[in-house]
Symmetry: C2
Subunit: 408 residues, 2 copies
Amino acid sequence: MEKVDVISVGMTKFGKHPDKTGRDLVLEAFLETIKNVDKGINIKKEIKALFVGDFTPTLYEHQAHYGPLVTEWLGIQGIPAFRTESACASSSAALAAGYFAVASGMYDVVMVVGVEKMTTLDTSRTTDALSVAADDIFDLNTGITFPGLFALMAQEYFHKYGGNWEDLQTITIKNHYNGSLNPKAQFQESISSIARKTALKKGVSFKDDMDFLNSQFNPLVAYPLRLYDCAPISDGAAIAFLSNSKISKRFTDKPMHIIGFGMGTDTLALANRHDLTTSVAVINSVQSAYKMAGIWPEKIDIAQLHDCFSINEILLSEEVGFFKKGCGLAAAKEGRTSLNGDKPINTDGGLKSKGHPVGATGIAMMHEIWLQLRGEAGKRQIKQVPKIGLTCNVGGSSASSFVFILEI
Amino acid sequence: MEKVDVISVGMTKFGKHPDKTGRDLVLEAFLETIKNVDKGINIKKEIKALFVGDFTPTLYEHQAHYGPLVTEWLGIQGIPAFRTESACASSSAALAAGYFAVASGMYDVVMVVGVEKMTTLDTSRTTDALSVAADDIFDLNTGITFPGLFALMAQEYFHKYGGNWEDLQTITIKNHYNGSLNPKAQFQESISSIARKTALKKGVSFKDDMDFLNSQFNPLVAYPLRLYDCAPISDGAAIAFLSNSKISKRFTDKPMHIIGFGMGTDTLALANRHDLTTSVAVINSVQSAYKMAGIWPEKIDIAQLHDCFSINEILLSEEVGFFKKGCGLAAAKEGRTSLNGDKPINTDGGLKSKGHPVGATGIAMMHEIWLQLRGEAGKRQIKQVPKIGLTCNVGGSSASSFVFILEI
């Protein structure tokens, strides 16, 4: 099995891009990814195949068949390409396909693309488009959509392990703060700043962040989750170039090694789970990745965990082994997952603040690990430059999960 | 690079299945694939990952995230899984992902699924669902749909190399004859039989097959293509188990070796091609596959080529190197691609007669090669049992292409 490195990453700013189609976003990320190859790269000569993660372009853009679409648009038509889909983990599935392809020895260098252009639809049609990540027969027929599915997880977590909605706000406040330091984030604003602006605009006053988060400006979506517990709708693209380790040094002296990889599934229907606070998909993916890397959670210096809803960052922080089951909420409240904590999580603002263009999210997580491990994350750089990072990107209600462990 | 074998295949009958969802079709194919493992298999112990090709379940079934859907439905939840999409070649993309995964050494045995449940929509919505395989901006904005795109190819072919619609009927008549011998085919009827029944029902008479195909019962769809030049709308599923060659013998004494594989792309937009009678995607995939196999077209005893429209079987029979450019139509008329010709093509009836549940087609092609190479194809078995077979499965207007060369 060949070893595989990440030799460059790039991404667009996440957010609303009314002037750009999905393919335009991919082009923008592509140009940045080329620029980020330390020693340069001859694209037409080196890139041997392309894998595109994109969740529902069919509904958002009336467009599938994104493989040849992207190769044509980037001027590299001819090379092998196909699309992967695993709901919100679609680009981690593309990373997996690219990883297998390089690990097999079939191709030396491949490009992996993640993209989603979501702001073409109104809110109700977007909710519908996202809902196809759940089980149409057993989940959606009950009338539930994603905020409801994760709200059920939050309720069971509180019931089993204690804690309440107020505790969860640690995640919202932390991730908005981290996002305020990230020029690529959709919301580059702390909750304090949002509260201050809202106060000025509406002629009200807030005692503190919690007072704002408890107000009418943070309405209930699905009990106990409120608006600021939910990741936004976003447009964006992210790209990674993967290379056989044998030749990575041709492109950079600091390749990022994929030392662990795992994927797994759980029941698609939440109704069929025995315990809503855990996911077999996540457990299996995490265990496979640790086993391959030959390391344990103590060795991980930084992680990007799929906070589509605030509760999920807590659940995943326990599943990846950072904290014991039921202890994630307390650990977050103690600041252990903050930028300067011992287990920094979602240093780029997470899905909540950086944005969540579904198909681009998995690669964007890898993008942040890349910056942090290189010490190039700017204002949000962890002071003691981390050595090993982990991404955990899940699809739907954690029915699929993909984990990468990365080291420079 | 590990060598990879096919150790079993299975499929549903293709056609209308009003009583079955996509997942039901997958289950049916799964049970057959297990049964077809010569020495038996312990599924829960052996199957390490799953890849599902499915084109537009989002539109047909309001369902994506087919990876965990299938693992749950088959009772093997937990294992790694994701979906692949490359339009009508979606399950060949899944075969490619599975091939890489096994070739890398990551997994010893994987399952590859192809499925499409299409008959949920009426004809106009089905045409729309299929259209997302073309370029929404540069193709569809002109008002064209798939019969029109392939009609343009036919027109350019006739213009450049001669021939006309009458010549093309060789393909329709041949594939319906082959399909009449295939119990899994959607239309198990020769054109002569269809003509005879139509004559009885409508109180008309036909001199011969051509007289029927020239009648009002074969209406024009997009000049020069008529109804019987077009593959039908179908429901169906097909499955293949892939194994590392080192352990294939545990499952069968007659594993089918994947000795050649290639994939490629061309421009998604037909408008951007220099020549509508050729596809860079097909050429690149064919050349890669032959190069890997170290053999040439002369060595191929049987092929399944993507006849979504009659003209495409001709185009592909030239691209895979069986006949010189412009000579495919004449070769078909001479009977060289018939069951007892020297280059039998689409012995199972092809997409035209066997049916074309888009996401299942790539694996169904491999299913036919499996039967023929084992001498188990029943009434349509090629008399001198073939040794080497080839599949060429394309997406959309041949904007993506996947080729496998198989040997027992």
